[in-house]
Point group: C2
Chain length 204, copies 2
């Protein structure tokens, strides 16, 4: 009701473009999907894309990466803030959500950061900067969570890097194997290791 009459649908169109690019990155990566497919999925003409993202496909990809990181951090925060939640339980739920998305999509839908990270070359400056910042933010949030649960700060940083690494590499193996088993095995070993290292939650 309060939207400007000259730009009635701007926020929605921008969001649809970002959502369509995020979906493409999760399924096929940046090079595997054409701009026309993204525009069709977003129901947006080409001119609207360049209005919101003058840098075109790459700038839209950066926005999708940033939006995905924000979403992942929010999802992690929601899991952690549940009453009595231990980091190990939150991480198990996080992995389980990713595994369900992968399985429900017939092993097509993975992490929105991973494929474009491997496709990127050193010349893709803005995309690599967004990805580096995104992975760093995920590591920092996980490290803070582990430090809060009793890990020494430096140890928490290394453990967080291992958790992100194991998550991405297990999703990769599960994707091509067509079974969630690699994700399950990786989570079991890694989370048992974290549980043995961190003090038990209060009241446990």
């Amino acid at each position: 009701m309060s939207a400007s009459p000259t730009t009635p649908s701007e926020p929605a169109t921008r969001e649809r473009l970002v959502a369509a690019m995020t979906d493409a990155l999760q399924r096929r990566g940046l090079h595997g999907v054409g701009l026309s497919e993204v525009l069709q999925a977003a129901q947006a003409p080409k001119g609207v894309l360049y209005h919101h993202f003058p840098g075109g496909k790459n700038e839209l990809a950066v926005a999708a990466i940033e939006s995905s990181v924000a979403w992942l951090l929010q999802a992690l925060d929601r899991l952690v803030q549940r009453p009595g939640a231990h980091p190990v339980d939150a991480l198990r739920q996080w992995v389980s959500t990713a595994q369900q998305a992968l399985e429900r999509s017939g092993f097509e839908q993975g992490c929105p950061l991973a494929t474009v990270a491997l496709e990127s070359t050193p010349g893709d400056l803005q995309i690599r900067a967004a990805l580096a910042a995104g992975f760093a933010a995920l590591r920092e949030r996980l490290a803070a969570l582990l430090a809060q649960a009793g890990a020494a700060p430096e140890r928490a940083t290394s453990l967080a890097t291992l958790v992100v690494a194991a998550y991405e590499g297990a999703l990769m193996q599960a994707r091509v194997a067509g079974t969630g088993a690699p994700l399950q095995q990786t989570a079991d070993v890694l989370l048992a290791m974290l549980a043995a290292e961190l003090p038990p939650p209060p009241g446990a």
Copy 2:
């Protein structure tokens, strides 16, 4: 001297094609590189490609995946067979070699299986079959190594899946960060965990 005069350079041409595709997969993945670039790098005309690989780019990619897996297994075997080598030392050397290749290439050259694994969709039947077999072979060789060093068989299988996952996910983070630190941190935590779990090598 003993080569047939009608096909004097066949093995060398096939090998050059596989090597050029492997290099492309390591740097940009399957979708990021054009067939013409691969042919140019291999100094091979298009007709020669279809003579060796009637299925074209995808069949060449499958051959590059299989060749890469054979090479990775041989490299691992060489590290393990060194006198007095403990699996943890062999894995440290393996990660170190990958880290050096990534750094020397200016953070462009990664694992030849990883990018195409994430680019692949469920419809890429032959590529996914080659990748699934490749990752399974790597996991099995690592599991045998860990079992030989004293891990219980089922535990060795899970640990091997975690090692492959951590390796791929750490390479991914190092690639976009432009520093080997995520690979170093991941290896330090993971290999210390393996060292604590496996009996010390004889004479240690």
